[in-house]
């Protein structure tokens, strides 16, 4: 995508392309070729292809990212229980090993495909594409992708999803967004999970956590939530309803949306080209 649309061409490098500088010869006779492609070009192409699949099948795809044990699967279980009658849902689970999470989801009566990555610390667009072939997308309204539990690597790989959710459980500490800025910057909604444990934790300050998110220039909603006692679920599910509605509106107009970060990046690069 980015090698063809020109969004990587800036005022600083345009001359290299326009003035025949693309193949500048160096002193030793070798040739320097300007490229200006995203390093993850192949992944991005596959992600765009996945997104076309999702759009064609009229479904909303949401990628969940967090550290291991922050409650992604539990959030999905309670979400499925609550809105199963309203939406047809499917889940792609990513873990290094085991089918445990997919089995938990299947027990809720929802189709789940488990990706076991072996040693890979993240899901990529090719793995998702492979998993999609095992699913009937026509029978879904929402597809959740539960990424490998990891607060670093998943943020760098576009899977073709429309939206990102980043979870932070209260046991992890309120400064996590400051420590792992890349993954929290990517969030379209930050969920502070396991709020039922706050009574036992005197050192987690919810306002401080939200402020750390804001310091990353993130305007996305931050919601305190508990899959155990239901706190925050009304807010979370209302947001989800809105997103399903927005996706339907986009589809009606033949449009799509990229997860927040990529859209912002392309927008900024486009401004640079003026």
């Amino acid at each position: 995508m980015c090698d063809t649309c020109g969004c990587n061409i800036t005022d600083g490098n345009r001359h290299l392309i326009e003035e025949g500088g693309k193949h500048a010869h160096t002193d030793d006779g070798s040739v320097a070729v300007e490229v200006l492609q995203n390093l993850l070009n192949a992944n991005d192409h596959q992600a765009a292809h996945n997104r076309e699949h999702f759009d064609r099948h009229q479904l909303l795809t949401i990628n969940l990212m967090s550290s291991p044990g922050s409650g992604k699967t539990r959030l999905l279980e309670t979400t499925i229980d609550t809105i199963k009658k309203r939406y047809r849902m499917g889940v792609i689970e990513g873990d290094l090993e085991t089918e445990n999470d997919a089995q938990r989801i299947r027990q809720k009566g929802v189709e789940a495909v488990q990706i076991t990555t072996g040693t890979a610390c993240h899901l990529d667009a090719h793995m998702i594409h492979h998993a999609l072939h095992q699913m009937n997308l026509d029978e879904l309204d929402i597809l959740f992708i539960e990424n490998v539990g990891n607060l670093v690597c998943p943020a760098s790989f576009d899977l073709g999803q429309h939206l990102n959710i980043t979870l932070l459980s209260v046991t992890e500490g309120d400064d996590k967004p400051a420590k792992y800025p890349v993954i929290f910057r990517a969030a379209d909604h930050v969920l502070i999970t396991k709020s039922d444990l706050l009574v036992m934790l005197d050192d987690f300050n919810t306002e401080k956590a939200e402020q750390a998110v804001r310091h990353l220039a993130v305007e996305a909603p931050v919601t305190l939530i508990s899959a155990k006692n239901g706190e925050g679920f009304e807010t979370w599910l209302t947001w989800l309803d809105e997103q399903v509605q927005k996706q339907a509106e986009r589809r009606a107009k033949g449009e799509t949306t990229n997860p927040k970060l990529q859209t912002e990046g392309i927008h900024m690069h486009a401004q640079d080209t003026r």
């Binding site: 320097a32 070729v33 300007e34 760098s156 800025p181 890349v182």
Partner: protein, 124 residues
């Protein structure tokens, strides 16, 4: 940890370029990385020494240009340098800023040696 995957993706692109340019060897790869790309240049460098083996870039050098973080305030319009976990406006303190640079993950250029035959005689 994901630096090896990224390195392999980069080498696939480099191989394609080398093939298209009829190059026998890649001597230097220049990349631009911003701190907010989520990629650590040192780890990428280490991964590169492993991943390049047996490829057209087996003896190539990997050079990284680290990009600085700059934001533009959507409220007052100021442009400032920023830190990875503090992207707020340096003038008015508002958090609604846009990133101007700092999340790059770009393959900028590739230096290569052409096949010994005369240049420009190809059928392209």
């Amino acid at each position: 940890m994901h630096e090896l995957s990224i390195c392999q993706a980069m080498l696939t692109q480099v191989e394609e370029i080398a093939q298209r340019e009829h190059a026998s060897q890649v001597t230097r790869i220049l990349i631009r990385i911003g701190p907010l790309s989520g990629v650590v240049p040192e780890l990428l460098q280490q991964a590169f020494t492993i991943a390049r083996a047996g490829s057209v870039a087996a003896s190539a050098e990997l050079e990284t240009e680290l990009q600085s973080i700059r934001v533009r305030c959507q409220q007052c319009g100021a442009e400032c340098d920023a830190e990875t976990n503090r992207l707020i406006c340096c003038e008015c303190g508002d958090f609604r800023t846009q990133l101007i640079s700092g999340d790059e993950l770009l393959l900028a250029s590739v230096e290569l040696t052409r096949e010994p035959e005369e240049e420009g005689t190809g059928d392209d």
